[in-house]
Amino acid sequence: MSTRDDTGHRSLADQLRSWSDDRLAGLLTARPDLTTPAPHDFGQLASRATVRASLARALDTLTRLELSVLDALVVAGQTTPADVRSIIHARPAAVDATLARLLDLALVWESRGGLRAVSGTADALGTGPGASGLRPRSPEALAPAEVTRRLAELSPAARALLDHVAEHGGEATSGSARLTVLPADAATPAEELVSRRLLVPKPGSPGVVQLPGEVGIALRGGHTTREPVDEVPPLATAERSADLVDKVAAGAAFELVRRVELLLDHWGSHPPGVLRSGGLAVRDLKAVTTLLAVDQPTAALVVETCAAAGLLSARADVTGDQVWVPTDAFDTWLDEPPAARWVTLVRAWLASSRLPALVGTRDETGKTRNALAPELASYSMPESRAGTLAALATMPAGVVLAATTGLPSLVEQVAWHRPRRPRSRTQQVAWTLTESAALGVSGLDGLASYARALVDGGDPEPGLAALLPQPVDHVLIQADLTAVAPGPLESALARQLQLVADVESRGGATTYRFTPASVRRALDVGWTAVELHDFLATVSRTPVPQPLTYLVDDTVRTFGSVRVGAAESFLRADDEAALSELLHHPKARGLGLRRIAPTVIVSSTPVDVLLPRLRELGAAPVLEAADGTVQVTRPDVLRARVPRERGASAKSVRESARVAAVVAAVRSGDRATSTRPLAPATPLTPSGALAALREAIEVGATVLIGYVDNQGVSSDRVVDPISIEGGSLTAHDHRADDVRAFAVHRITTVQQVPPG
């Protein structure tokens, strides 16, 4: 099918048709919008690739160099690679590579006349980044040498005029200048320029002249731009020991993991509500800042990261209100080692389009933006994050961003790679830098060694794991009833300790305090004194101090000295023998009696059942009220309330109206049935129906129509047609006793109804 010959392809579609499947797949991966919906053929694919929206989207992913090359092609029109190389202010190798990429993206194709940008590129580039502002070359362009020669001939005034035009949009009005003069006859600077074809009349705009591309290139020293376009702006950097960077970053990374665990653990039992608008209330975010001892932006970042990583989600609580709770992914997350947990969180952050930095700021209407609010997202955020980290990764280890100039230079470099979008890039890059520091991706404005793996697709986990505090399996217990774990405790141990003691201070280490209440908490869940002592002895590296041993024993001593149970009723008597007698009465077995003191018996039977049963057993019990007084009861005599009648007259009027309507409906329905022919009526053609209806209008007859309503239900109606207009029949419907409109095309049959 290939129509390729020595000079290129007939069309973009042809070119695409000639590509291998792999190359096509590459194109579709790079420009995913081309695949939805799947194009029918290459013609459609090619045309879709040149649609303005698709072009704009493709251009958004280009670097400044790529945009400049594309722009040069627009200026040059159809041309050869060698020509492109010559007019771009960049190294030839870079230009070739760029051209290859642009070809792969189907932004440039090889026509029979040479390379050309797809149509619409000029519009899509507009005056945005990468556009040189030059006009396309004129069709029969002068050779560069000739342009240079003519420029040299100009008078200073003409040259100044030309420069002015070139700097101000490349267009001017010709004014009184004659457009057809020879260089020798030129009287004004403008005529000098026009006569030498350094300015040419703009086609279709009388009185306007423009600077052709080749002249613009010559004015800019032979290139479309004065500045080289293949130089990536450098980062402003400073030296900082790589160890220190890693230490600071790993510290933040550890904190992140710890904070997420703390927060979600807390929210698992005390979930905050979901706002009607979908976010987290300001009050709840404030509570997070207190819980985590961080400032509000960090709190928002932690919350958003949890949600992005799928560890936090909204669901209805028992009362049906929406609340934010940890997901079951949180439980599996907890089982992983800290470094792996961090990787999960940070990968989610990288891919997330959320804008945590906007939390707490006010929108245009003055409303505070809430964390987790659905609208806090930007599609360009993941790209900005990736771009920023990639830029940071270009710095070798031991080099960080300079204190004040670092951020602007970083923004500039990221902008070089993606000049067109997004508009809020400066902000997004700055946010990324702050967030990456808070998350432990970077430290002291330098990328942590382990975080490089995030950029180049490796696994950061081993690198980070080596930097995190090693889990410890012991604590130091002290006489002031505190225990200090001098590092992160092993997970199981930490949970046990949290049960037995209260956490006082968290961080790299954890301080626990033993109190009678905390020890009781352990007893409540079934620990015994022996187990507690054993646990403390094994977990403590130092001898368990005597006051703690004493505390445990003392708490055990008072534990359970008061017992609580459930009973429906109680019996008490000063006469112990009477109670014993009751308790041992053979018929009392079903009453669930249990003696809890010589003079008190409790029962699992409710009082109103118990009382008559006891009387049956021959006892003479009296009922005691809540305050201990004796209550005298007699059987209740039952009475019902007199039913209240509604006003009879109103009711009967309403009733009769309803009955009348039913009758009308039934009667008309009946008529429909009675007039129904034995054989089913043959469906009418629309014209037949029209004719029958018009006839009925003429004669004022009642007809039975078969009608299919909006829901597709077919029914028979008895109607008196009134008029027919615009495909709609207006008729009096007997069943509804009202004038209705019927669509003619839905009328299936029309039959005369005998009057009566």
């Binding site: 550890f254 002031d480 001098p486 968290r506 961080g507 790299g508 280490a509 006051p547």
Partner: protein
């Protein structure tokens, strides 16, 4: 990762593992800016507070040093937010300075105009300032020097006071070191104070704070006003000064409820200073009676609120505060900082103890079980009565007897809160009792007898808590106290911490009733002891050897 001894927590506590090789070195490095919160046996807890950081700043340390110290000794990564916070907090001190202006007198000057603007807009401060002199300077009413410092601290912009001090009326004072010598830490404390101008010296009870005061007076060479807690303490100060310095009895005046002498060195009690008659403080003129060159505040943590107000007017005079603890039960540490001055010297108790200047103590809590009848009374008593009922149980009497019997021949103090209980104890133990109503002369006599060994057992109420030097006491038995005050515990322990000649350890017993509020309060006190590094034991009364 370094293997340092310090763990920096994000909640601004520092945990120092003291068994670590570098622990001693690290403690020295962090002591200037971190406040020791607890010092139990394995891990000491320090806290970074704004006051602590400002204290350090006042002592000439800068944020970089602090951050560097934290990074050097930290075992794990130091939370970044904390480092930022340290730098910011420390930068707040000294942005505003109180200075002497040759023309306008006392002025508030700033190197940071927005800060000055911020404080000028504060309502509380408006009345204390005079005319704006230029963009960075504003006049201050001389009388408001103290109030202004207090208010600025509350705003979070503590001012550095460069306005200097009046020299006061010169008076020759020197230490008479013929029979003794000033200990190294006492000398260091006095010098730190003198270089700082004004401030507080923190030393444990029994570490010789009086001598630090005397050394400060020797530096000042000027008339001195000494404010102490009570009359007995005033007499002790007088005795000590006569013994240790060139001052003679005639040069030292006592200004108390009974005697009103104003001499070059005058010792006044807090009580007389705060006595009001007809709604006015009658003895305020004492503060202006002479041109004092130095004012010594004994037991700063007890300084009553009216004295703070008076002190606000004394900012032009040098002030030294002496105390065992900066912890104030009323939380007015900030006032001490702004009105008397920053902490100039601090030494951990255990350090001084290990140097042998104060006696080690063996702390024991003895738990008694209330008899059934008393338990019933206790259970049904009004909440405000419960503490008295629990702490005055008769069970305690027997335990006290047993304990006294355990330490025959050792000078013993029985300390309590309730007079009835003390009287009963005195009666059962056949020992003299000192309480509030005991005349000063009688108290003096009994204390002297106790010191000389004539009386071996003394029952005392809380009048003995403060500043009465009973160096010979070897055993203290505490039967009741005022609701678990940490400060009281420090004082009572202090009674026993005076160095013993033979290096014997002191015994400190607390008797509490189990399962009552008494035991709950006791927990507070124990915690304080444990946090100070004193291991203690709990024993049941039944387990005591009879």
């Amino acid at each position: 990762m370094t293997d340092g001894p310090l763990i920096v927590q994000s909640d601004k506590t520092l945990l120092l593992e003291i068994d670590h090789d570098q622990a001693a070195e690290c403690r020295k490095a962090i002591a200037p800016f971190a406040e020791l919160e607890r010092s139990p046996e394995h891990v000491h807890t320090y806290r970074l507070t704004p006051l602590g950081l400002w204290n350090a700043r006042a002592a000439g340390h800068d944020a970089e040093q602090v951050v560097d110290t934290l990074l050097t000794y930290s075992r794990y990564a130091v939370p970044h937010a904390l480092l930022v916070d340290v730098a910011e907090t420390m930068a707040r001190y000294g942005r505003l300075r109180l200075e002497k202006h040759p023309v306008h007198g006392l002025v508030l000057a700033s190197t940071d105009r927005p800060v000055l603007e911020e404080v000028l807009r504060a309502k509380k401060i408006a009345g204390m300032l005079g005319a704006r002199i230029d963009d960075d300077t504003v006049a201050v009413h001389a009388s408001e020097r103290g109030n202004l410092k207090q208010a600025l601290l509350k705003l979070g912009w503590p001012a550095e006071d460069f306005a200097g001090y009046v020299d006061g009326e010169a008076h020759a004072i020197s230490l008479d070191e013929s029979e003794w010598t000033l200990r190294a830490y006492q000398r260091e404390a006095a010098e730190s104070f003198w270089h700082g101008g004004s401030g507080v010296v923190v030393l444990p009870c029994g570490a010789g704070k009086t001598l630090v005061g005397a050394a400060a007076m020797a530096h000042a060479q000027a008339t001195t006003l000494i404010l102490v807690t009570n009359t007995v303490s005033a007499r002790q100060w007088k005795d000590e000064l006569v013994r240790r310095t060139s001052l003679t009895e005639d040069e030292i005046g006592e200004y108390s409820g009974t005697v009103k002498e104003i001499r070059p060195v005058t010792i006044a009690t807090y009580q007389v200073m705060t006595t009001k008659r007809g709604g006015v403080y009658r003895h305020l003129e004492l503060l202006d009676a002479r041109d004092w060159g130095l004012i010594v505040y004994d037991e700063v943590h007890l300084l009553p609120a009216p004295i703070f107000r008076m002190t606000a007017n004394l900012q032009a005079r040098r002030r030294i505060g002496l105390t065992a603890t900066l912890v104030r039960e009323d939380g007015r540490e900030g006032d001490v900082f702004s009105l008397i001055g920053p902490k100039r010297y601090d030494a951990p108790w255990k350090d001084i103890e290990s140097q042998g200047y104060i006696a080690p103590a063996d702390c024991v809590e003895v738990r008694v079980t209330l008899p059934q009848s008393e338990r019933l009374t206790y259970a049904t008593a009004e909440p405000e009565e419960r503490y008295r009922l629990a702490s005055c149980t008769h069970e305690k009497v027997q335990v006290v007897r047993d304990l006294v019997a355990q330490h025959p021949g050792q000078p013993t103090l029985v300390i309590g809160q309730y007079i009835d209980q003390l009287d009963e104890l005195a009666d059962k133990l056949d020992a003299p009792v000192i309480k509030g109503e005991t005349p000063v002369r009688e108290r003096q006599r009994l204390f002297d007898a106790f010191r000389s060994g004539e009386v071996g057992l003394l029952v005392v109420s809380k009048v003995a808590n403060f500043s009465i030097d009973l160096p010979s006491a070897e055993v203290a038995i505490q039967v009741s106290g005022s609701f678990g005050s940490r400060q009281e515990e420090a004082q009572r322990l202090g009674r026993l911490l005076r160095p013993k000649e033979d290096g014997k350890s002191a015994h400190f017993y607390t008797i509490v009733s189990r399962d009552t509020v008494d035991a709950d309060f006791a927990q507070n006190r124990q915690r304080f002891l444990a946090e100070q590094g004193y291991a203690y034991r709990i024993v049941d009364a039944e387990d005591l050897p009879a």
